[in-house]
Symmetry: C2
Subunit: 256 residues, 2 copies
DNA sequence: CGTAGGATTGACCCGACTCAAGTTAAGTGG
DNA sequence: CCACTTAACTTGAGTCGGGTCAATCCTACG
């Protein structure tokens, strides 16, 4: 188990490596262009940056968090546990995704968040959220939009786990993450997804052993390879076909 | 398949049976009390009412909807289909729930909605949403809150389908709907949930036959009975124990 | 060179699926 | 009022996907 925020320093003020004005994500074409006033607000809203290592726990179910984060770099995942330890991974977190909105709105986190790779997070103060809603309806709208997008992804995952076969599920999951990653890849494309087969199993609702055998089929078909403790996609179109998945249809989205 | 909105009349103006001032839901103790100005805005935001029969399709995946709804009475569900017809029910819709927010924000519906009982819906105009965000930050916040709550329920469902056994899942589902219904039951408590075993199967990701055998076990244990084409809960605490579910923890919520 | 986390494999079993009949209850038309 | 239909619920038999157990293998790392 990780340690949560308390023990991890949040750099603020001048310690930032990425002031909003030089945000590495915002120039990407999937993100809608912001007004100057919006950027200014966001810039003030941002309290600092948080660097978390691979494997660290960013947020813990049951905790109250004073912060809200946006992923700048790296990959993480949200999950829930049953009392006896069974784990279900709910979704993955990529650059541009918001972390901890549920906790900010409702008080208590109902899920935990862990880093799959080193991550860099923008830190926002939860208390400023009402100010944002009061003074920047456009940004408020964006936040609802982002929450709604997360809901949509969960719908899709639910469909997958409930109604797809093991092979389809595996293909869907990998194609889905790959497709999302492709949209926010900053700099050189890092084709490698830093997940273990245990993560895949806990996402798909399968056992580790069966997950391994299922992934093996995808590997034999040369749709993916498993290398250096991670997954590389060789043929995303074929994966999508196996999964009967149409692909992401999103055009422009907000980045808070 | 139902017919969608086009063929169904939306009563507006004086045809309304429930002006917001006499909203049957708002007095319930789970809903937070609104300011007079908020109520006035909601009242203008409401365009009319829509009555749908049992079995009717309210919204169809892929469609653009000009409306947003709040459930006043009745029970419905959201679902998605795979191309070959496999269906996954994502969540159930009860009084006080918002329908079609995703479609309103992102343009196209990514899921369909069907009525399980006769339903009465408040109809809102999608175009007025930006006005709401501009003039009523508190309501905007509420809408985000509602979206976030839906996300939370989906997280819980995902955990259930991915990691609970068939018996646990069935117990969880029924306890969950029952618990939610208990909070919004207007007038006499109608203990009967108007769902078929096919709905349960499509929610749990199980086959109809196996669902039947699983429910049979709950019936034998006298936790539920299946009567008149619906489900009645006899012992919700026992159901929760079987499901290892802690129950709903929500206190006050907004009603838009 | 030893250890540990992850990936792999085989053997065996059980939960869940499909197929195939029923049964029950609520219409519907004659 | 009865024969016919249809939707939903049941039940049994046989099969198979996916689970558990138990090794084994790799490879990065101290």
């Amino acid at each position: 188990m990780g340690e949560g925020l308390a023990s991890q320093g949040i750099k603020s003020g001048s310690a930032r490596q990425y002031p909003c004005s030089r945000c590495p994500l915002r120039p990407l074409e999937i993100f809608r262009k912001f007004e100057k006033s919006e950027l200014e607000f966001i810039s003030r809203f941002k309290r600092g940056e948080l660097r978390v290592e691979k494997g660290a726990t960013v947020l813990v179910e049951g905790n109250h968090s004073a912060h809200l984060f946006t992923v700048l770099f790296g990959l993480g995942f949200r999950y829930k546990l049953l009392t006896d330890g069974r784990r279900q991974i709910l979704n993955y977190l990529l650059p541009g995704d918001l972390i901890g909105l549920q906790g900010s709105l409702m008080g208590e986190m109902q899920h935990s968040v862990e880093a799959l790779s080193p991550m860099l997070l923008c830190v926002f103060e939860r208390e400023h959220l009402p100010t944002l809603y009061r003074n920047h309806p456009g940004l408020a709208y964006d936040i609802t939009w982002i929450a709604s997008r997360e809901e949509q992804m969960l719908d899709e995952n639910l469909l997958s786990i409930g109604r797809r076969t093991a092979l389809e599920r595996a293909a869907y999951l990998i194609a889905f993450i790959r497709a999302r990653a492709a949209k926010v890849e900053v700099g050189k494309v890092n084709a490698q997804l830093p997940i273990t087969q245990q993560h895949v199993a806990d996402t798909l609702g399968l056992s580790l052993v069966h997950t391994n055998k299922t992934l093996r089929k995808l590997i034999e078909k040369k749709l993916i390879v498993w290398r250096d403790g991670g997954c590389e996609v060789l043929d995303i179109d074929a994966l999508m076909k196996v999964a009967r998945w149409e692909g992401l249809q999103e055009r422009l989205r907000p980045l808070v």
